[in-house]
Amino acid sequence: MTTFIVRRLLQLPVVLLAISLVIFGMMQFLSPTERAATYAKSEQQAQHLDAIIRQYNLDKGFLVQYGTWLKQVLHGNLGFSKQSHEPVLTTIRKRLPVSAELALYLFFPTLAFGIWMGTMAAIHRDKLIDQIVRVFAIIGWSLPTYVMAIWLLAVLFGQLHCCGIGRVDDAIAVQIAEGKLKTYTGMITLDGILNGRWDVTLSGLKHLVMPVITYTFVASAQIMRVLRSSMLDVLNSDYVRTARAKGLPESVVNIKHARRNAIIPIITIAGLMFAFLLEGSFFIEIIFNFHGLGQWSVPAAVQLDFPAVIGIALLVGFSVSVANLIVDILYGIVDPRISFQ
């Protein structure tokens, strides 16, 4: 097990290197001047792009350029973002807690709801409940996240004045800006508790209602579908029949025997979902006005702010790779038949 984890961790830099190669390769479509802008650390430097072209060999061959760029990155300089007017690393550090908090609050309700729907659908196969769940899921699956978010925004926020947009109520946002609230983690609901300010935490939770509804409706379909089909497989298996023959109550058979085994494929889906949540919540951040990574990187990509794009791609690529590793380890723990050899 340890060797397996170490081997996978050693692969991680290789994957990141490959991702950076792909994106760096795409940058070759741009002219040297445009590329030079991605190296500037400040507004002043951006005025002297010729010097940067010479310094970083941007008019030389691809490998020379890549080597020079890589050296910069290894020294912790991911470049300067035009979008946020500050170094990319600073922006990521500032905005990551916001996105991470959002991702955590989106992940668990979606997972729980998907598992519940999948179980109900499988137990009541081809009955009315199954049909309702399947139609519900396929409608959610067909809705783009931003469309669902806009509908909720118009009806819940616009008409019913519920929940509010942004991360917290305006009054609390002002207090935070004035420094009256100490920042420990950057996650608003957690910081509220650590400061002993329950009103802050409650306000943060209130503002999470619309994002959670949006994402749960849009994303739980996939989990429901996979769980339903894997649970149907398990319900047809011999040991479930044995359990029933022993006279166990139906609920015990369904939950303890069937679902526990059917849930294994869910680990893969859930792991990938968690990794891609950074990306999946981009639109939620944009529409509900959360100052997270998406709200910065999406306009950045539209504006061809390359350092920002490379930074975000490396970050998401990293989280996908780590999530895959965690999924593989969890597999071994949940299902002892899987060996790491």
Partner: protein, 338 residues
């Protein structure tokens, strides 16, 4: 009828097959097909449906005057009718503008779905947007399948270092989030529908290629491939006559399930301003017209409901139609889900 004829098994037509029957008897599949037929009719009949509201450039390129457009585009006996239906000039895809007021106008008799900010006729955008959506969905999936056949085919057929190299490339592209990558491609290539479609295709192929390669490896191990090889079939003949037809099935199922997702991605890019040119009939872009009227509409958010309601319903229903049909195709073709 002679006895020999009676003994011969009757040739089964595709509509008599068990698979098609299973598809037809699935109520969700029927709903999906009805939705898609509705959108297809709307897309095909777009010139006739919007004959009395075509833009000036479109009329010019069609060679029609405004007064005759209605009569000509409503009569199937006219050559212009067929030309407008199957090869409309590009300018017809631009939504004609009714004034330039930033304030949306509610539905009226002349403009049944209302007018979006900037004077864009919403009904026109919805009707011609259906054409755009079909175009994007079908063409992107087609291109993706071509790329995947080339990459997955080469990897599966030749194996060895080439296989290794191509599959690692697949791994890398797959681990970059697709939306970010599509955004990067789209912003490098610049604005425009074709460029957006290329960006989406460049992002979507890896999963197809990986799947096709796996199936090719399975098929390659079958005895009939060795038999064909022993009979002297060359590599190309083996691939196109024997291997590909027997391994392409799962990829087609994947494609029918994926068209909806591709339309969503394209509309998302358009919503961000990375899609077609401003004013092009594209549902995602039309929703972005509505953005400023949702969160800050001056106290009456639902007053301008028509600005976001029609395009978002159009996208949702269109994708729903494809998903219902894709699901049913999978259920009908996949022997495990009986």
């Amino acid at each position: 009828m002679s006895s020999a004829d009676a003994l011969k098994p009757r040739q089964e037509r595709w509509y008599q097959s068990k698979r098609f029957r299973r598809f037809r008897r699935n109520p969700l599949a029927v709903v999906g097909v009805v939705i898609l037929v509705f959108f297809a009719t709307m897309a095909l009949m777009a010139p006739s449906l919007t004959a009395d509201r075509l833009g000036r450039a479109c009329l010019r390129d069609l060679g029609l005057g405004r007064s005759q457009a209605r009569a000509v585009l409503h009569s199937p006996l006219n050559a212009h009718f067929w030309r407008a239906m199957f090869a409309p000039p590009k300018s017809c895809y631009s939504i004609p503008r009714v004034g330039y007021s930033p304030r949306p106008k509610p539905p009226s008799k002349k403009y049944p779905m209302g007018i979006a900010s900037g004077g864009y006729d919403i009904f026109y955008g919805i009707v011609w947007g259906a054409r755009t959506s079909f175009y994007i969905g079908v063409l992107v999936v087609g291109v993706v399948m071509l790329i995947a056949t080339a990459v997955g085919g080469a990897a599966g057929l030749f194996g060895g270092w080439l296989d290794n190299l191509l599959m690692r490339l697949v791994d890398v592209v797959y681990s970059i989030p697709s939306l970010v990558l599509a955004m990067v491609f789209a912003s490098i290539f610049g604005r425009g529908l074709t460029k957006t479609m290329i960006a989406i295709a460049l992002v979507a192929w890896p999963i197809y290629a990986r799947m096709l390669r796996g199936n090719i490896l399975q098929v390659k191990a079958q005895d009939y491939i060795s038999a064909a090889h022993a009979l002297g079939a060359g590599n190309l003949r083996l691939f196109f006559k024997h291997i590909l037809p027997n391994s392409i099935g799962p990829m087609i199922i994947l494609a029918s399930l994926d068209i909806g997702a591709i339309v969503i991605t394209a509309s998302t890019l358009a919503f961000l301003g990375l899609g077609a040119d401003v004013g092009y009939a594209d549902w995602g872009q039309m929703i972005s017209f509505a953005r400023s009227w949702i969160s800050n509409p001056g106290g009456e958010p639902l007053k301008y409901w028509f600005v976001w309601f029609w395009p978002s319903m159009a996208i949702a229903m269109f994708v729903l139609g494809w998903n219902l049909m894709g699901d049913a195709v999978r259920d009908a073709l996949d022997p495990r889900s009986q």
